[in-house]
Structures are given as C-alpha cells and as structure tokens.
C-alpha cells in the first residue's frame, strides 16, 4: 500500500468522549489524590480544617444573645455547657449594635441614615445596571422593602415610616416606567444624602448643587465657541465664585423666606460606626473615580504642564502614607484655611481620602489605557472624533473594562481603610466604637465579639463589590457569546 497517496472520501462526524471520563470519582482522583504527595497534602489539609472547626465551633455554638454583661454571659454558658466551656457573648452586640451602625445619632433620627442608605442603592441602580428595567426595578424595590423592615425594626415613628415608604414606592414606580430618569436621583443624591445626614436647612445643599448646575450651563453655553477645555475652565471658575461669594447670601435669603424644610442639625462628632465608614467610603469612591480618570489622561497628555502636574500629584500622593494625609486633614488644613471658616472634619477627611484614592485609581486606569492598541485612538482620530469624544466613547469604555479588577480592588481597599480615621479621633466601627462600648464596665471583658461582628459586615460589603465586578467583567465581554 502506498502511503504517499491518500484521498478522504467521507468526512468524519464528531463523537462523544469515552465514558468514565466524567463523575465524582474522576474528580477526586484528579484533584485530591493524583499522586502520593498530593494525597498526603489532602489529609494534612483535612486535619487542619477539622482542628480549626472543632476548636472554634463550641465558642460560636455556646454563644449567648441576651444578657446584660459579660459576666452574666459567662454564668449562662457555665450553666448550660459546663464549667470551663468557652462561648461568645453576642449579647454585647445585641445590646450595642446601634452604636456600631449609627454612631451617636439619637434613636428618633435613625430613619435619616437608613433612608439615605436606601437611596444610595436607588442612585446606584441606573449606574450599575445600565438602565435595564428588571435589575433596576429589583434593586430599587428590594432597597425599599429592606428599608421599611429596618425602619420598623429600629422603631421609627409612623409618620417617618410612611414618608420613607412613599418615597421608595414612588422611586420604584419611576424605575418601572422610566428607568432612565433614575439618573436624576443619582445626580441629586449627594445633596439629598447630605441633607438627610447632617440636617439643617435644605437650602444649603441645594445651593451647593446649584453651583454644579450653573457650571454645566456656563459650559454648555461656551462649549461651542471656545472649545471643551477652556469652557470647562471658565465654568469651574464661575462655580467657585458662586460657592465662595454668592451662595451663602442666597442660601441665607432662601432659608429666611422659606424656613419650612429643615431637619435637626447633626454635628460631625455624632457620626460613627458604619455610618461614618459609609459616608467616607462612598463619597471617596465616587469622587476618586472621575478624578483618577482625569489624572490618568493627564499623565498621558502631550501638554507638558498638565503631564508634569499629574505625574507630580500621583507620585507624591502614592509616596505618602494615608495616615499622613489624615493628620493633614485633621491638623494642617486648619492652618491654611481662613480662621473663621468652620470646615467640617469629616468633609476634610473625605477630600483627602478621595485625593489619596484617586492617585491609585489613576495608575490602575493607566494600566488599562496601556493595554489598548494604538490603533483605537488612530481609528477614532481618523473618523474625526475630537479628543474628549474619543476618550469618552472609545478609549475609556475599553480601558475601564480592562481595569475593572484593579479599580474594584482599590475601592475595597479604600473602604476598609476608612477604619484608619480612628487615628484622627473619629469613631470608626472597629476601634472607635469598640472602645466606646468597652468603656462600659459591663462589656469590658469582651474581646473577639466586636471584631468578628465588624469584620463580618465589612466582608459582606467587600465580597458584594468583588462579585459585582465579576458580573460586570462577564457582562462586558464581547469577544464571544
């Protein structure tokens, strides 16, 4: 038979893999016992897990939820599980959870942070789910339902409960009929949240937001004549003039004329616990992303001054510990500000934490930008798109997609770093509030419980962020379906 000649007369059909190449036994053989060394490691691992669980399980299982002090907890455990048994004293959490959550707010005011928290999810929904009706609706509806439950659980009075329920119902209806318009809720959220949390006259946050509105109007009016960047500069200037010189008079006049809308003012030292972590974390996360994008673009700019400033800022901030920035916020800024200004400590911390995070975000985004082939910018150029259109429509969507894991890591790190504000005297949930609670002689002996409780809550939120980023990566994948 000659083997240099071959002509296939029939094409072969695809066949199934041989049987026995699937199933549990195969999985175990391949993953747990593929070699004697692997088998030993498997047994060592199982022993480690067993000893960890067997030593900590009784502590969790013997946990006591109702008691008035650690001593009482111990007595109950000794009575039920025998002398010398260990057990968690969750009663401490049961008794003081509200301080871990709300800091030093009065009980009658709990509805305010809770409503702000629910509105946060409403504000996020159009951003996270691209105006898709179903998930947006589920998020808004879910936030509303959970809010009503929480409000009921913390014993909110009927009037505020029904007010919050009505607001959430209206927003859910909006989410159903016009999910796009939820973006207005997102835009108004900073002012709304500020008003709910800090209270005072409603005209102060409206005045601040009006500054942004004026800037947008000025920018729109000038954009066509003098180009994007000069228009943005003038708009920013006008906004600063408004905030610096005009706004306080207008706000004053409006609160004189219409003094009806106001909430009891809360001082910054009443903020604490997860309320504080969330205020700082959410503000810094949402501020650092746009600043980071601008810094990343600035670092790649052809313009010498912009490039130098961006590089200088990024390298300086990354070279300085966050704690230094926090001390700057609490001490140094005071020296630079005019003496009569009463610039809130939390606000100062938010600003410096945002700047700190934005330097890291900028570098993560620069990594995403570097991953794009040069041809993308060239194609955008060759079609006549201007610089900002190209960045917004072509470059950033792709660069951010590449940078998602890095960005979310930075956000998670930032959120956990909010506990560092304990160092400038703010009551973070981990150290600040724990100290306050343990100052009570009844709970002085508790040690693990507050850390586990606070750690678990941090884990829930950080893990959710991580899962969302995986969902997003999957969703934005366009190479195959």
């Amino acid at each position: 038979m000659s083997n240099s000649h071959f002509v296939r007369t029939q094409m072969l059909p695809a066949q199934k893999p041989p049987v026995g190449e699937t199933g549990v036994i195969k999985w175990m053989r391949e993953n747990l016992f593929s070699s004697w060394f692997n088998a030993i490691l498997t047994f060592i691992g199982m022993w480690a897990v067993y000893s960890l669980v067997s030593s900590s399980a009784p502590w969790f299982l013997n946990g006591v939820w109702t008691a008035s002090s650690v001593d009482e907890c111990r007595a109950i455990i000794a009575a039920s599980a025998g002398e010398g048994a260990s057990g968690a004293c969750w009663a401490m959490i049961n008794e003081r959870w509200h301080q871990f959550m709300f800091g030093f707010f009065d009980r009658e005011e709990y509805w305010r942070p809770l409503l702000a928290f629910a509105l946060l999810f409403v504000a996020l929904s159009p951003v996270l789910y691209f105006n898709l009706r179903r998930p947006t609706m589920i998020m808004v509806g879910g936030a509303g339902a959970v809010l009503v439950l929480l409000l009921w659980a913390v014993g909110t009075d009927g009037w505020h409960l029904s007010l919050a329920a009505a607001v959430m119902a209206a927003l859910a209806a909006l989410a159903w009929f016009a999910p796009k318009h939820l973006l207005w809720v997102t835009l108004a959220f900073p002012a709304t949240a500020f008003f709910l949390l800090w209270g005072g006259s409603v005209w102060a946050p409206i005045g601040v937001m009006a500054g942004f509105g004026i800037a947008v109007l000025v920018w729109r009016a000038l954009n066509g004549f003098i180009g994007v960047a000069p228009a943005a500069l003038i708009a920013a200037l006008v906004a600063f003039i408004w905030w610096g010189l005009v706004q306080s008079f207008v706000t004053e006049a409006m609160s004189q004329a219409l003094p009806y809308f106001s909430l009891p003012a809360e001082d910054s030292d009443r903020f604490g616990g997860f309320l504080l972590s969330f205020v700082i974390g959410v503000s810094a996360i949402s501020a650092s992303l746009p600043i980071g994008i601008l810094l990343a673009l600035g670092r790649r700019s052809d313009m010498f001054l912009i490039k130098t400033l961006s590089v200088g800022f990024i390298e300086f901030v990354r070279g300085v510990p966050l704690i230094t920035m926090l001390f700057t916020a609490s001490l140094l800024l005071q020296y630079f500000l005019p003496p009569q200004t009463n610039f809130d400590l939390i606000l100062r911390v938010i600003i410096l934490v945002s700047l700190f995070a934005s330097a890291y975000i900028a570098e993560v985004i620069r990594g995403g930008l570097a991953a794009l082939p040069r041809g993308q910018q060239e194609a955008a150029d060759s079609l006549g798109l201007d610089y900002w259109q190209a960045q917004r429509l072509i470059i950033m969507p792709q660069a951010l997609k590449v940078a998602i894991p890095g960005i979310v890591s930075s956000f998670i790190g930032l959120f956990k770093d909010t506990t560092l504000v304990a160092l400038v005297g703010l009551a973070d949930p981990l150290q600040g509030i724990t100290k306050v609670v343990k100052a009570d002689i009844a709970w002085k002996a508790a040690y693990w419980e507050p850390f586990i409780f606070v750690g678990a809550i941090f884990f829930i939120f950080c893990f959710s962020m991580s899962r969302y980023s995986m969902y997003l990566e999957q969703k934005l994948k366009t190479d195959h379906h």
């Binding site: 180009g227 082939p373 041809g375 993308q376 060239e378 194609a379 150029d381 060759s382 079609l383 006549g384 798109l385 201007d386 259109q389 429509l393 072509i394 969507p397 792709q398 997609k401 934005l476 366009t478 190479d479 195959h480 379906h481």
Partner: protein, 255 residues
C-alpha cells in the same frame, strides 16, 4: 472594462502635497514629497518596507505630523489648527491594516458612532445609512454582532463601511489586506474595486499588484522616503524606468 466609464479622473485637485518633509527624531523619513491627486484618481503606493509609504498617507489625515512643506486636502491646509484637522479627518476616510474596529461596540454602533457624534446625524438616519453600506459590503446580517465574532475579511469590510458612513470624499487604505488570510483577501479587494467603480478618490498602500493593474490609474513607487517613480500601471509594470523599481518588481512578482 464595462465600468471604466464611471472611473473618470477630473481636473479638480483633491490633494496637493508640496515639498513635504518629515522626520522621526533624527531620521529623515519623508524627503521632498511632491504629489497632486485629482478627484476620481485611484493611486496605488508601493515600495519596500520602511520606504515611508504608510507614513505618507498617514500625513494626509494628520495621524502623523509633517514638519516642512504643505499638504492641502480639499482646499484645507493641514497645520496645527485643530479645527482644520477635524474638518479634513471628517472628509477623509481611512482603512487600517489591523481594521481597528471598536471591539466594545456592535457592528452597527461602530458604523453610526462618528455620523452621530461628529456629523450630528439623527440616530435613525445614521442607522439607515449604516445598513445601506453594510448591504454594499455584503454583510448586513452581521449588524448586531461584535467585531470579535467576525472573520478578518468581514472585519475589514466593516471597517471600509465605517469610513463610508462619514460620506468621505477621499479614501486612504493602509495595507488593507496585509493582515488577512489569503482566502479573505479577495472579498476585501472586491469591495475596494466596487468603491473605485463608484468614482471614489482613493490612495491605497498595498502589495496587491493585481489590484493595481485592475483599478489604479497611477502607481507610485517609493523608496527611502522618496517618490522614485510613478506611472500608469501598464507602463509601470511593463517598462519600469529606475533600477530600484526593477529590483522591487522582480522581487515582488518573481515567485
């Protein structure tokens, strides 16, 4: 050829390049380029790699900046004035070797993006135009897919359609078939030929000499940043004048 009547060269000047020079740092990449392109001309630029042919056409829509000399496209001189650059770019379409489609957008969005944002065309109208040109490059059924799901030849045809959606008066092709598998080259060349038949002014950097013979009314040969020889294709291939051209043609057609 039956279609030759439509492929008319007019007297109107589309591109005028005068004494143009360009350097990359110390490297003199384009030297004293003089070139006039009339409306309706189909020019093929060829030459060994590194001869500056890609750089030359990239100067025409200012993806590269020239330092000395003058380039006038459709009556607009290219200078550092951003308004002029954007104006020229929206009149001049460009097709790249590596397609450069936007991978995060569907084919339809790739085609409508520039008309909507640059020309301010209403979305529906832009989509109708896009579908018209997708029909023309024979892949309307792919409109809602993403570029990554298409073959190289299909992607390049989409890239051509994307440029056409801006209704350009001039088309530049930068080695449009060099990154394609052999079996896909023909479908792209066919698209380009039908474009030439419609009277489009084209400058094409390519090594497809068959295309040059069939479509071009002028072949420009470049070497070491200079135009060495140009002629109508029949003469160019049958009777190359310079030794460099002869050598190049013998290498490219020899096998």
């Amino acid at each position: 050829m039956a279609h030759a009547a439509k492929m008319q060269v007019t007297d109107e000047v589309a591109i005028q390049i005068t004494a143009m020079n360009k350097w990359y740092g110390q490297f003199h990449v384009l030297r004293d380029i003089d070139m006039t392109v009339n409306r309706g001309e189909r020019i093929v630029v060829c030459g060994p790699s590194g001869s500056g042919k890609s750089t030359l056409i990239r100067c025409i829509n200012r993806l590269e900046e020239h330092q000395v000399g003058q380039i006038i496209v459709d009556g607009t001189e290219l200078s550092s004035d951003l308004k002029n650059i954007d104006k020229v770019r929206s009149e001049v379409g460009m097709v790249f070797q590596h397609f450069n489609l936007f991978p995060h957008l569907t084919i339809l969005e790739n085609l409508t993006l520039a008309p909507i944002w640059v020309r301010k065309t209403p979305k529906r109208e832009a989509e109708e135009t896009a579908m018209y040109f997708l029909e023309k490059v024979k892949i309307p059924e792919q409109a809602l897919k993403y570029p990554g799901q298409l073959s190289g030849g299909q992607q390049q045809r989409v890239a051509i359609a994307r440029s056409l959606c801006m209704k350009p008066r001039i088309m530049l092709f930068d080695e449009p078939t060099s990154a394609l598998d052999p079996e896909m080259i023909k479908e792209v060349l066919d698209t380009m030929i039908s474009l030439a038949e419609d009277g489009m002014t084209m400058i094409c950097v390519t090594h497809e000499m068959g295309f040059a013979q069939a479509v071009a009314n002028r072949v420009v040969f470049m070497d070491q940043g200079q135009i060495v020889e140009q002629n109508e294709p029949k003469e160019f291939f049958a009777n190359p004048k310079s030794d460099r051209t002869k050598l190049f043609l013998s290498q490219i057609l020899g096998h």
